[in-house]
Subunit: 154 residues, 2 copies
DNA sequence: TCTCATGTAATTCTAAATGTTACATGAGAC
DNA sequence: GTCTCATGTAACATTTAGAATTACATGAGA
């Protein structure tokens, strides 16, 4: 099954924005993400609607963070992306007449619910600030300055 | 995201087989599952390879269970279906040069791994016998005899 | 040898993410 | 004002993997 990358992509974009003082254009971000500007705009539109980022048109325009990194969790971003489904497996009919199917669904549903709850609560525990701290630790380990161009070569 | 139904479908089929003393044809099972005989055969081929079911050709042929219900867990079936991916979300590059992407992946990977482990260990705890018991409880509650035809009407 | 059922390859259908094109809108720069 | 830059968005194309279908070979009774 194909996997939805939007959460990963959104976090990546947000942290890049956090490293820059000026607005970043969707074109620039798209190059960073090796994707298309429209894909970036589409994704960020959801975050803007929830107030996590701002966008401005015209010269010098682009995207900027609208919130403190401490104030935003992965859960917030996940929700802003319209809560894409987390699990790749499921079952056939939601309200089957067949009692066997009901028994199967009962077990699977409970298990799936628990797994989703676990994922969401984990997401709620991690802030963008924590991710940023981790990034800067890695950066210090490399003893290099931040260079978004070089970071995405090859 | 579209969800993979094979685990649910396989469990459903296996429990139907458990209720019948004679072999069930893929055509009959397909009608039960409102799907196509080839889909059923393809799915059951994986289970047969692992020894959970048997198939026989010709008159009176079809599919039968090859193991005790107590001896098979949902995990066994999941593995026999070739371990379809459990999570619908993921990330972009597995070994990104970008340190931001690395930081993002580190958090997401750990979370995803934990969720998958939880699902698999849950699957390992539930036997087909437990599902069957649940089914028979529901059946007793309905005070009806088992009737696979009626169970899948409408 | 006829029929039934599986075995399996090849093809098509489908849904959802992803990617692309095209063009309208609005904000500076000049 | 108008040119350029950048977002906003609709419409369309591509991709991917599961699901469904078609077609035919194989083998086991009746």
């Amino acid at each position: 099954m194909r996997r939805d990358n939007r959460l990963s992509a959104a976090l990546h974009v947000l942290l890049h924005m956090a490293e820059e003082a000026h607005p970043l254009t969707s074109g620039k971000l798209a190059k960073t993400m090796m994707t298309n500007p429209v894909v970036v705009r589409r994704m960020l539109a959801g975050l803007r609607a929830k107030g996590y980022v701002r966008s401005e048109k015209g010269h010098g325009g682009g995207w900027t963070l609208a919130r403190d990194l401490e104030a935003v969790t992965l859960r917030d971003i996940y929700d802003a992306l319209d809560s894409p489904s987390l699990l790749a497996i499921g079952h056939r009919a939601e309200n089957p007449q067949c009692l066997i199917e009901q028994a199967v669904n009962a077990v699977l549903n409970q298990t799936f619910r628990d797994a989703e709850d676990m994922l969401l609560s984990r997401f709620g525990e991690v802030t963008l600030a924590a991710l940023s701290t981790d990034f800067h630790k890695r950066l210090a380990g490399r003893q290099g300055a931040y260079n978004p161009e070089a970071a995405h070569e090859g």
